[in-house]
């Protein structure tokens, strides 16, 4: 299914836009289900046996599976179709955003968002933003200097198609699910100041304001276009969140100024060096008793070789060059390198709020944290569950 956004910044779609979006969403579903199943079958029946015959053992890593799969027709068909379908996501929404330029810019000005968002026009943008058409999105997060909001609007509308309805009515299911889990698992934890780092358009920042209405919520990103769009989107949803343009390596807030530092689908877009700097920054910004929480892709060490390969595909073919490097890392070691103690490490898998409801999350939060593996999370897992990890600061 294709998701129709529910917030006030949703586009006015013409009939052709609806049809095009529906097609791409349906095509992606076919690729990620049917063609992916063919690829798994090809692996089990052709690729893995041939590898085992040649090497005397099955493939042991994501990289070995990738190399072996490259020659198989099921991989070629899946991959070629998936690359094109990804571009078709953006192709479907870019004309709509251009058509609505005046409306978007007026909303930013009239809502007060344009004046409120704290931009840093002299800040040098990192190469992972300027040098990539991330997710094959033309211009990536940096977007078009002449129409900065376009990058945010294209991302929002594109994600609505991309998500096939699995990421919430306003693409906020990750934030809603994670915040619901935290409230249930840690009922005494009452964050007064919350920071979302790498927020893009703030779609997963807003749920924290909904979960903790008395909290002061800040959202930061390096890309101005997403922030301006996100600040407008938040204003029009009546949610008071402060948006700032900052680099995660050097966040311009005082030491000990937050109770919760959050990120979602952010770490895999950073180089290893930037990732480490962010963990140190997160620890610096937390007050004693504060929590660093990252929603992310599950690590390769906790998945089978094929499942790892399947997720790592995006690294090579979806302009996400740091994706596999992140998934090869140990989440606990990342926290440790950031200065957090091993005994303060937390990880869990939470069911999606939108799909399973609050009761399922309350049950999960009351149980021992689920094992993080290909059965519980990741693209091949049954259902939709989100992986979170981080650490408390003593």
């Amino acid at each position: 299914m294709v998701l129709q956004l529910k917030h006030a910044m949703r586009p006015q779609q013409a009939a052709e836009d609806v049809a095009r979006g529906r097609f791409v969403s349906g095509l992606r579903s076919f690729i990620l289900n049917d063609l992916a199943q063919d690829m798994r079958q090809a692996y089990d029946q052709r690729v893995a046996p041939a590898f085992e015959k040649a090497h005397g053992r099955p493939p042991e890593s994501s990289a070995e599976v990738h190399k072996a799969m490259r020659a198989d027709p099921a991989f070629k068909v899946y991959s070629a179709c998936r690359v094109r379908a990804q571009s078709m996501v953006w192709d479907a929404v870019a004309p709509v955003v251009q058509r609505e330029r005046a409306k978007l810019e007026a909303a930013a000005n009239d809502s007060g968002a344009a004046a409120a968002v704290k931009l840093a026009p002299d800040m040098e943008l990192p190469r992972n933003v300027t040098g990539l058409d991330v997710h094959l999105m033309p211009g990536g997060y940096a977007g078009d200097a002449d129409f900065p909001m376009a990058a945010g609007a294209v991302y929002d509308q594109g994600l609505a198609i991309f998500s096939m309805g699995l990421m919430g009515q306003n693409l906020d299911d990750i934030g809603l699910s994670m915040s619901t889990y935290v409230r249930n698992a840690f009922p005494d934890f009452k964050p007064a100041r919350i920071l979302d780092v790498g927020c893009t358009i703030g779609h997963n920042s807003l749920p924290w304001k909904q979960a903790y209405p008395d909290a002061e919520v800040h959202a930061v990103d390096v890309a101005a276009g997403g922030l301006l769009y996100g600040a407008t989107r938040a204003k029009l949803q009546g949610l008071d969140v402060a948006f700032h343009q900052m680099n995660a390596e050097a966040l311009d807030f005082p030491d000990g100024s937050f109770d919760l530092v959050f990120s979602s689908m952010f770490l895999h877009e950073l180089s290893a060096k930037t990732r480490r700097a962010f963990f140190r920054e997160a620890r610096r910004l937390l007050r004693p008793g504060g929590l660093l929480l990252n929603m992310e892709l599950p690590p390769n060490s906790q998945m089978g070789a094929f499942e790892g390969f399947y997720l790592d595909w995006d690294c090579y073919y979806n302009e996400e060059p740091f994706y596999k490097g992140f998934r090869d890392e140990d989440p606990r070691a990342l926290c440790r390198d950031g200065g957090f103690a091993d005994e303060d490490y937390v990880q869990f898998v939470t069911p999606s709020l939108g799909i399973y409801g609050a009761e399922a999350i309350a049950t999960a939060a009351a149980s021992d944290p689920l094992a993080v593996n290909s059965e519980t999370t990741g693209r091949l897992a049954e259902g939709v569950n989100w992986f979170g990890f981080g650490a408390w600061k003593r």
């Binding site: 009939a15 052709e16 095009r20 529906r22 040098g131 302009e319 994706y323």
Partner: protein, 104 residues
């Protein structure tokens, strides 16, 4: 994709000279797959448009095959229709084009 921002362990052979992923032994195949998907998309858009129109015409009681045929005949020399066709062809077949700056 910029060379410098490719994954560190990416074999160069997985990308073509234009920097795009290359999956098939014959690079022409990598161009044809998008064309097939584009065609399917255009076909669906038309199918949905016709379904919407048919619903509207039936709802208003004005559906008429003869009238539709007459409109088609009148469009034979319509420059707007020609321009729309050109845009349609570009939308589907652009993947067949050489990337700018890449020698044939």
């Amino acid at each position: 994709m910029s060379d410098a921002l490719r994954p560190e362990d990416a074999p160069p052979s997985i990308y073509g000279p234009d920097g795009r992923p290359q999956f098939f032994a014959d690079p022409a195949m990598d161009r044809f797959v998008p064309v097939v998907l584009n065609l399917a998309s255009e076909l669906w858009v038309q199918a949905e448009t016709i379904a919407n129109l048919r619903a509207l015409l039936e709802e208003d009681g004005v559906a008429s095959a003869e009238r539709l045929d007459a409109i088609a005949e009148a469009s034979a020399s319509d420059p707007d229709r020609e321009a729309a066709l050109r845009a349609f062809i570009d939308r589907i077949f652009t993947p067949l084009r050489e990337a700018p700056g890449v020698a044939a």
